[in-house]
Amino acid sequence: MSEDQGNSREAVISIRGLRTAFGDQVIHDGLDLDVFRGEVLGVVGGSGTGKSVLLRTIIGLNPRRQGSIEVFGQDHAHLEEAEQRRLERRWGVLFQNGALFSSLTVTQNVEAPMREHLALPEKLMREIAAMKIALAGLPPDAGAKYPSELSGGMRKRAGLARALALDPEIVFLDEPTAGLDPIGAAAFDALIRELSHSLGLTVFLVTHDLDSLHAICTRIAVLGEKHVIVAGDMQTMLTFGHPWVREYFLGPRGRAAMLDKD
């Protein structure tokens, strides 16, 4: 992954003319979005603007009505099943509540994708799982625990460890800091920034957390009115004229987050 870093404007995800709907309710219409290699893209928008739906549509969990979504130049919906599996191995997903398998320990959760997709020796798999658990910032004894024995923050870290199990090139994070205390959220932000930097990850981050946007996102896309209202860096957001965007970034919470950063 590292040799590609020079070419920083290569779009790894490219969405064109996307339309999704549940029954009569149209969620996205004519949505265009690019995610470039190595960037941390924050996706924001009011409740019900389809941020999570967009994430789920990209990874193929939600059907779409129209449009194309190319990840690494391939459209998931038009691939053979084996090619789909191969593409899915190149991304990792952290669901909102971790979505850990409740009948497996944390270590087994992290090993699950390796066990399923690769033929690795047992011991190497345990070593790699232990390393990923440590990289996700969990203490060593967390590996033997079941998800129900973990706190919310630890569950998210465990979910991140599982998302990173196959060394993906893109990680999708669905509100990773929601429900964490400010200190835990800041630590999680730092972890994501550090991992994305040292592992050369591309991060697709759905969030409501203004602090996260300031702290780790290199680019922000605002969802609303069924499409991307604006995409760009923080400076673009702060000078953009759309009323919702102004309210979001320049409202009391937005300003507080900016002060924090300064």
Partner: protein
């Protein structure tokens, strides 16, 4: 003397679709300055299986100063970096000098990152002897069963005290959930209970007649069907059906409410879950089960009558006459009197196991199964106790 090992592994089916298939290669050579390990190819997680084994062996084998030459690596991920780092660590732990050489900057950063994640593996738990394990399992099961029986008795006591409280203040009885559960556990069970009892009545009549015909005593088929349906089968069958239909539903409902913290929310709002959830369910079963048992009795007798008419030429009139003459109503009471007790047991176990749910979805499934098996078992045990008791008191 230059031992050279060349390892390569290609796994086309696992290869990333862009670029060549994943390969990890490492070459070991002995030079003047010590050992050199030359790493090349794509050091990513999908190609590690074979090189891992050799590197682990070499980590124990090599006795000289070692250079880990990383110049040939085209692609590196954390898993690959881990294996390289581990090799160096194994050598260093044995007091040897081992250094990375010609590594790219970003690869060094990744290797440093992986070093942060280095921690001792938890010791592998030794598998105890299988006999010991079996004994321990049996012991654990017995201890668990005893503990659980005590807890169930405690729950019975709690239910009784809540029931007493509600009887003292009838306005505390939740009428809406009671009626709702009467409908789902009682009324909605009528078709299946009727159908099954009807069929069993037919089967009993047919099988009984086959045997009794050998003594020329077919006419006793009526008593056979009537007594067995009224005393035992009607009510037992109903109880088993209700345990499977409603006992399991109680466990699953209360269990998922517990997972969803609804039970805690009730307690926090000073609402008693025993009063809100458990009592209406148990009371509904206690009211519904005798009625269902009565329906089962009637349908069983009806099934017997149909079969007697069809196969034995015993007309419905004759059937009724023999019933009235030879089957005293005591048999019916001996059956139906058991129904409220069965209902109490089914409701109690169903709700109790629901309250035991903790952790995740798996626990709901396990305890639902347990609740059905336990309540059917307890119903049959209780039925046996009743039989002995009725013999003793001559009912």
């Amino acid at each position: 003397m230059c031992p050279v090992n060349n390892l390569s592994r290609a796994k086309p089916e696992n290869g990333r679709s862009a670029g060549p298939p994943d390969q990890t290669q490492v070459k070991r050579s002995q030079g003047e300055g010590g050992t050199a390990l030359e790493f090349s190819g794509e050091w990513t997680i999908s190609g590690l299986a074979s090189t891992d084994k050799d590197l682990r062996r070499w980590g124990d084998e090599i006795t000289s100063r070692t250079n880990l030459n990383l110049a040939g690596i085209t692609r590196l991920d954390t898993a690959g970096a881990w294996v390289i780092f581990r090799t160096r660590k194994m050598l260093r732990d044995r007091g040897l000098e081992a250094e990375y050489a010609h590594a790219r900057e970003e690869h060094l950063a990744l290797l440093a990152r992986v070093e942060d994640g280095d921690q001792p593996l938890p010791p592998e738990t030794a598998r105890p002897n299988i006999l010991m394990e079996l004994l321990a399992e049996i012991g654990g099961f017995m201890a668990g069963a005893a503990q659980e029986f005590r807890a169930l008795l405690g729950f019975l006591g709690l239910t009784m005290s809540v029931m007493g409280r509600v009887l003292a203040h009838p306005s505390r009885l939740r009428l809406t959930p009671l009626v709702h559960h009467l409908e789902t556990a009682g009324l909605n069970a009528v078709p299946i209970v009727s159908l099954i009892s009807f069929l069993i009545g037919m089967v009993l009549a047919y099988q009984g007649a086959e045997q009794l015909r050998q003594f020329g005593a077919e006419i006793f088929t009526v008593e056979l069907v009537a007594i067995s349906v009224l005393r035992e089968i009607g009510i037992l069958l109903t109880a088993i059906l209700v345990a499977g239909r409603s006992g399991s539903a109680f466990t699953a409902q209360i269990g998922s409410m517990k997972l969803n913290e609804e039970i805690d929310a009730m307690r926090a709002l000073a609402l008693d879950p025993m009063e809100m959830l458990v009592l209406p369910r148990i009371l509904a079963l206690i009211i519904a089960l005798p009625m269902l048992g009565f329906i089962a009795d009637i349908m069983g007798l009806l099934g017997g009558a149909v079969m007697c008419w069809a196969a034995l030429d015993i007309s419905p009139g004759l059937y009724m006459q023999r019933l009235e003459e030879w089957v005293p109503v005591g048999h019916f009471w001996a059956g139906v009197i058991k129904a409220p007790f069965f209902a109490l047991i089914i409701g109690l176990i169903g709700c109790f196991e629901g309250m035991q749910v903790q952790g995740g979805a798996e626990s709901v499934g396990r305890l639902t199964t347990k609740s059905v098996v336990e309540s059917i078992f307890m119903v049959i045990v209780l039925d046996a106790i009743f039989s002995i008791y009725f013999v003793v008191i001559g009912l």
